[in-house]
Structure formats: C-alpha cells, structure tokens
Symmetry: C2
Subunit: 192 residues, 2 copies
Amino acid sequence: MSEWNLKETLLDKEDVFDGTLLHVERWRAQLPNGAIATREMIRHVGASAIVPVDGEGNVYLVRQYRAPIARETLELPAGKLDSKAEDRLQAAKRELEEETGLRAKEWVKLADMAAAAAYTDEIVSIYLARGLEKGEAHLDDDEFLRVVKMPLRELCDMAASGKIQDSKTLCGSLLAERYIGGEHAIEPENCQ
Amino acid sequence: MSEWNLKETLLDKEDVFDGTLLHVERWRAQLPNGAIATREMIRHVGASAIVPVDGEGNVYLVRQYRAPIARETLELPAGKLDSKAEDRLQAAKRELEEETGLRAKEWVKLADMAAAAAYTDEIVSIYLARGLEKGEAHLDDDEFLRVVKMPLRELCDMAASGKIQDSKTLCGSLLAERYIGGEHAIEPENCQ
C-alpha cells in the first residue's frame, strides 16, 4: 500500500528491564532516512477480551480497580494469554467463564486491537459471545471484581458520553453495536 | 457506585526503570482482602488524538511504521503532550497541524481513553475536529508518516472488518461515526 518506505530496520536489541509483570526491550533501529533511533518497548504476551451479549441485548461487564489510573473502571471481561502460543479464542472462553461464570455457544472475532502501538506489542483480541449459558466463575486469588449487567445500547451511550475509559471496552462495545446493528439492518422493517 | 470495596491502597512505590522513552514504577499495594500485591506500571505524560472530518465526510489519517507490532498502521493524527500540565485541546490542535497541515474551527471531545489501564497511566484524549482549513505541516525530525484521506464510513467499515489495529483509531472512528450519526438522526428524512 505504501508509495514511500516508512519501515524501520531493527539493528539490535537488548533486555533493559525484566520485572515481575513488565519486560522492557531497547531497540536500535534505522529510520527511512538512515538515521539511528532508540526504541523502548514493553513485551506483552497478549490478551483476549469478550463482549458477552444475551438474547435480550444485555452485556456482562466487570467493575474493578485499576491502580495505574487510580480509579474503578467498567470493562469487558478479559485476561492475558497463558503463553504466546495459547489459542486466543480458548483464552477468551476461559476468561469469560472465570470472570462472569458464563459460557457461550456463538463466537465472532471483532478485532485484534493494538493497545498502545508506540510502546508495546500487546494485541487484545476482542470477541462477541452470544448464546450465553451458566458456567462456573472462579477468580484468581488476586482478582477483585464485580459483574455488572446492562443493555449494550446503554454501554455504548456511556462510551459516547465519556463515561468509559478502558480502550478495549470502548472498541468492543462500539464494534458489537455496529455488528449487531448491521445484522438488523438487513431487515428493512427495523427502520421506521 | 460500588457496593463492595474494590480499591487497592498504595503502600509505597519506587522507580525501577528510567529509560529514554519509558519510565517504570513498582508499587506495593494492599488488596481489598488485606494481601499485599506488586504492581509495575509505565508512567506516561498522556496524549491527544484527532478525528479530522471535512464537509464531505472524509477523515484524514496518518500511515506510519510501528516497531513494537512490526507493521505499518493507519492511525488518527496524534501525539504526546509536551508536559502533564499541557492543555489537551491545545496539544490536539498542534498535532493536527504538525502531522496533516490542517487546522479546525470546531472541536468536540469524544473520549478520554485509557490505553492499557492494567499497566500504564496513559490517557489519550480524542477529539472530533471539523471546519477544516489549510495550515502548515511540520514533522519532527524522527517522524515519518504519510497522510491518507478517506470517507469516515470507509474507515469504520475497515475497523469492523479487522483492518485497523490501533486502539485510539478504532475508538475515535466509531465514536465519531456514532456522534455524527446521532446528529443526523434528528433529521428523520435520513432514515429511508
């Protein structure tokens, strides 16, 4: 697609911080004009997130505390992959049941979202899950969250009025509304 | 809004990595059950992003290379704040003109998006900009990007079919479409 070459060439890289949760690499890269630039980035295993929508158009969310932004958030159920190799749909199924106690019969991939492409390789795969049925919730020991159910339309209205902060929840709710709306749009009697 | 206390209490924090671009803090926090947990997080100055839409419904985007995900992306014009204290709307105006050579007469805040609330405090303020007029592009020395113009509707269709990865671009395009659609929806003749 490019007429211009925008690509950077990786010259070398090193681990510069290896924490409990975060892993930082420093890259030396050659820019399109030949100059050398430093790039620091978080290596992340990746994550899956779920927009679980029931037959009445309700979505199930989790309310939790997020220390980096010092506030509670309302978010899609989500979790990290167990490893880079883990199947993302399997991870979505596991996280949905762990966090909400729900299973789903119908799964649709909505997006692979790069959370912050400037400094992390984290990709969040976002799925629409329908055909919900009861499973078993079982949170990790250090997980504290509360399940909240509301109409998807209401969540999207909250997103549109600045009441949702979390990036995957903004993307997932709006994509799900557009996807479901698109299905409905093929039935012209819905337009009045 | 909470019946339960989900909040973590910060006990102490230290700088554990101070790089050229990334700054990592390690926090010790007390969980709601009294247990102590470690939190590592990226401190980020924050950013502003713009959905610039012209009178014909076209949006202006930038194509650039993102080393962490090793690919070119199509993104909203955006940039970091100069400091935590910088006015976010002023930063949006500066970045729009620097990256696209456009100025705008009408600005609407669409969202304050937490890019990755699990491990960074980065908030991206996303603005809809209309009433576009020509200004002067002037990129930073290490910025390589190409401006792309397309119908906002086409960008949203790309978002809905997995062709957009960047989180702020997914959020901003869908919020702008919903916002503009909402304005149009008050004109019933648009529904056919």
